[in-house]
Symmetry: C2
Subunit: 226 residues, 2 copies
């Protein structure tokens, strides 16, 4: 489904070149559930942004569903981002002027889903993450973990074939984190592909496969549920 070959990502900072991703090969099959672990600053979010077509690599090739990302135009990339990929951002990235309900509905507005169906689906997923009592609140009236759950709801509402989750339980207590993981497992059983960055070893072990990022290089880990 997803194949990265010899991927390099670097930044120019002042007169130094910082290499963040250092020649990475990474293949993910359809319907695989992968956890990505690694120290703070090791490049996990950077890798995820490239996978999610939000950033371009400095070098190497990235093939998604048989198509080379480097050859795609903006229209095609936008279509993939909206239809195929759901992204839970580490910093949530909610729209502050929209309510919880409006934030969650937004991807279905882009997908031209009829109003009634859109509202129905939004209310369902909001209920699923335990926020029915907050639908008319704005992001700055929510707790950290509530904001995170809105970001999760928004990422899964289009039922994407690939779910990219960057630290999806970082702001959540144990019980709420477990509920989110159950949601992910359910999406996985439906056939979707899930790539999840996490610092929590117990959350990581829910995946079939674990990879580790260290100094910009990728290593296969031992997974509990392989």
């Amino acid at each position: 489904l997803l194949e990265m070959r010899d991927i390099v990502k670097s930044y120019q900072v002042g007169d130094e070149e910082q290499i963040i991703l250092d020649h990475i090969d990474f293949t993910v099959d359809e319907n695989q559930f992968v956890s990505v672990l690694g120290p703070s600053g090791s490049g996990k979010s950077t890798l995820m942004n490239i996978i999610g077509c939000l950033d371009m690599a400095t070098g190497g090739e990235y093939c998604l569903a048989g198509q080379l990302i480097e050859d795609m135009d903006q229209t095609e990339l936008a279509r993939i981002r909206n239809k195929e990929i759901g992204f839970v951002f580490q910093s949530f990235q909610l729209l502050n002027r929209l309510s919880v309900l409006e934030n969650v509905e937004l991807p279905l507005i882009y997908a031209h889903t009829p109003t009634h169906e859109r509202r129905q689906k939004a209310l369902e997923i909001i209920d699923r993450v335990g926020l029915s009592h907050r639908i008319d609140y704005f992001p700055n009236q929510l707790s950290g973990g509530q904001q995170q759950r809105v970001a999760i709801a928004r990422a899964v509402i289009t039922q994407p074939s690939i779910l990219l989750a960057d630290e999806p339980t970082g702001a959540l207590d144990q019980a709420t984190g477990r509920a989110v993981l159950d949601l992910f497992k359910e999406l996985h059983r439906e056939g979707r592909t899930i790539i999840m960055i996490t610092h929590d070893a117990s959350i990581a072990s829910a995946a079939q496969r674990i990879v580790k990022l260290l100094d910009g290089r990728l290593y296969e880990g031992e997974a509990a549920n392989a």
Copy 2:
């Protein structure tokens, strides 16, 4: 040191009144290390903001070092926030136009610390949180965990008598989180008072005392190191 009596905090949302903190009594002695646990949305950050004099309670009394907070004017509150309290925010709240070094130095600028001493202290604490190689970077060039560590460095640089930390290891891998906890334990040994919100039970257990917030009410928990 810190005494809250019958504290109430509520918000008016539309025509409803939401009670977030429901008659809380909370006393913390000097040099105590307290962990605050509780589900997402239970009111932990709200409680912390009142303790840190960033927000006012709707009802009840809050006494800090023998003085009633409700009777203080803005000047005195500002003095306490700058000199006595260090705050690690759940959302970091770094200044995006300032570099890592400048963000960390800022509290010492307010304290009128001489330039040379200020720079020295900033470089030391930045090194302590493992970010010497990032001092000239801006927050939007940092990873989530790097931003969190800058927030921690900034909160402790004034050597505050009270450290308030809201989810200080949420974005950190195990090893980096442990290093931050070691820093907090060291500050505790120096005589400071630490109140730490965390979802991580293993981090919480480093404290002497655990309290739990549930539906806006505070309960004493059993602490491992009491």
